[in-house]
Symmetry: C2
Subunit: 405 residues, 2 copies
Amino acid sequence: MSKMTPFKELVSYEEALKRIHKSIKPINRTESVPIEKALDRVLAQEIMANMSVPPFHRAAMDGYAVKAEETFGASSFKPKTLKLTEILHAGASSNEVLDKGECIQVATGSPVPKGADAVVMVEFTERSDNTVSILKPVYPGANISPKGEDVEEGQIVLEIGKQLFPARIGVLAALGREEATVYEKPRIAVVPTGTEIQEVGSPLKKGQIYDVNSYTLSSIITKNGAIPVKCKAVPDTADELRTTVKKLIHHDMIVFSGGSSVGEQDLLVRVVQEFGTVLFHGIQVKPGKPTLFSLIRGKPVFGMPGYPTSCLLNAYLLLAPAIRQMARLPPKIEKTVKVKLAKRVVSSTGRAQFLTVKIRDNQAYPVFKQSGAITSMTEADGYIILPINIDVVEKNEEVTVFLLD
Amino acid sequence: MSKMTPFKELVSYEEALKRIHKSIKPINRTESVPIEKALDRVLAQEIMANMSVPPFHRAAMDGYAVKAEETFGASSFKPKTLKLTEILHAGASSNEVLDKGECIQVATGSPVPKGADAVVMVEFTERSDNTVSILKPVYPGANISPKGEDVEEGQIVLEIGKQLFPARIGVLAALGREEATVYEKPRIAVVPTGTEIQEVGSPLKKGQIYDVNSYTLSSIITKNGAIPVKCKAVPDTADELRTTVKKLIHHDMIVFSGGSSVGEQDLLVRVVQEFGTVLFHGIQVKPGKPTLFSLIRGKPVFGMPGYPTSCLLNAYLLLAPAIRQMARLPPKIEKTVKVKLAKRVVSSTGRAQFLTVKIRDNQAYPVFKQSGAITSMTEADGYIILPINIDVVEKNEEVTVFLLD
């Protein structure tokens, strides 16, 4: 039993996040994607406007393009009458130059005809055959969106590093761009360890269980802007782990699951130490103590707990922030709700406890069964955190629930 | 000008949402997808466990499988000594039946050998060659996850309508399922109207502008669990609109943009009235008054404002909830932050105003330029709502920012 390694130093959750934050290098590879596929991607190029938006002086209202000074003094009692020389529907533009005493009917979006410097809204006019009575004066520029009002040619509209939210996709479209250069999504190898792990879809042999962690980890990876590369289960032997690390280290990150708890099978830590540096092995949270984080040739290598719930909760807590940083995404904005605790909970001492709960009628009900139970999390709406120094939270106390999605 | 239609009745935002909610039928078509592609989809089948999880009694710790009663009375001063008959690594199982006076070394996850009813943690043992000294008694069942502890065969683990979050993908994997039957994503036709609309990638002709709304609307559709079907711009004539409605009504929803403001070009409302029922045309919010919502043969048909910012903000406010309901997704949980307003804002009277802001140093700075300006939203982190009855919000007043993503 001498080969069993105890945990050396348990770090706090905050310290673990800090070490991750210091170690992760954001991705530098870029690719060009059509803007309709660029949603939520991170811009790797500065976008300078190669044109003005709007590209011409546009009517901002339905009405009549006029020379503003010819409307001065107009009122419903004493209208100014102009000759209607043309009717422009949206999309059409005029080749005429507006002359004194004339007006041209425009639709919202029409280019403002030359010679006109304002639009009178249709509400303040009366038309009869070929003349239009103006009932209210307008100032020069009224109801016109001047060329470049939204974007001026040569202006920087989006900087490198901006995430392409819908509005930003919109500004790329407004400039007529078909493609954008974005950072590649990190490619993350997901490797279950243990000979007892069977692939979903194949029958279980004696002593085997299905691979759960690859699927939950891949889900977290996908949700946080990276690409999971699911790999076959690797037996828990030093040689196999060495070979696997060498084979997969060309990925941007490797995430092992299982194999990092204290035990005779716990070889991953030692193998990782041969190639690189362990930054922490074990954190002061429950569930999920045995999480391993290391760097091999600058690449992050995680060892997640084997138990499905521990693995998944630690993926939310530690892996997701690491992936987002690598993918150059901003930290996730936590969605929280404050509700009352439906029943008293007792925390284990010495570790921050992340307790899964479901919310019913504005009350939080603990749903945690045991760290092995994936069903602990299928009913969970979120989790509450019981800090290290809190042993008991009483029924009806207000708690903050961090919602899972 | 007699053909110009004024807005008949402006409904409040709440009333608009209510009418949408009453009108949308959730999608009923289903499809089977591999579980690695099923993330965030909505389950269309009940999942009954066809096996137990774990599928056998599993060791929950590294240690020694024993008969519990043989450890009773053990202490570090007076250990009980057992004969070590076999060493099981994870994934291996024993064919032996544990006999009196014997123990078998097990790893976390090992099937518990027959004849054993407890596991003694390795920490409470001492090994010498072929014997193991037990330093602490265990009760029957100690450190064992019994078969079916997580999921019992025949149990319903997931109900119809559950969204497949990572943990739920995990439970499907735990049961060995390769596929899940989920509801199809709604297919939503996106149609810009107006002859001035040019496709991204083609050069602009005189009076033309690029299609922005199709891209922002498609982004909102994608983000809310549906599939956008981008269609070519349609000229604003009654005949073209009629033909388009007929051609596209086999989709689950049609979203027009532009063409629903008051003006001579405003034909969409009339065309929609020929085929179906207008549920509202115009809401009491700024920007975005002219939004149209109607039902044609039971299918929702939206007419969004043509101005990019109005269009996008109304898509967040009205279209997204409609899509989520159709896709059977739960209402979006709003992410909000409370910050101070960096400068005084004045609201237009008579309408709720949605004012885009960016957040810097815990202060909200209005970024709204004008409803035509897509750049109004590219810098926005979120929006604040100025209710109908509020005219002014002073600098330094606390406001709730609804974050856009």
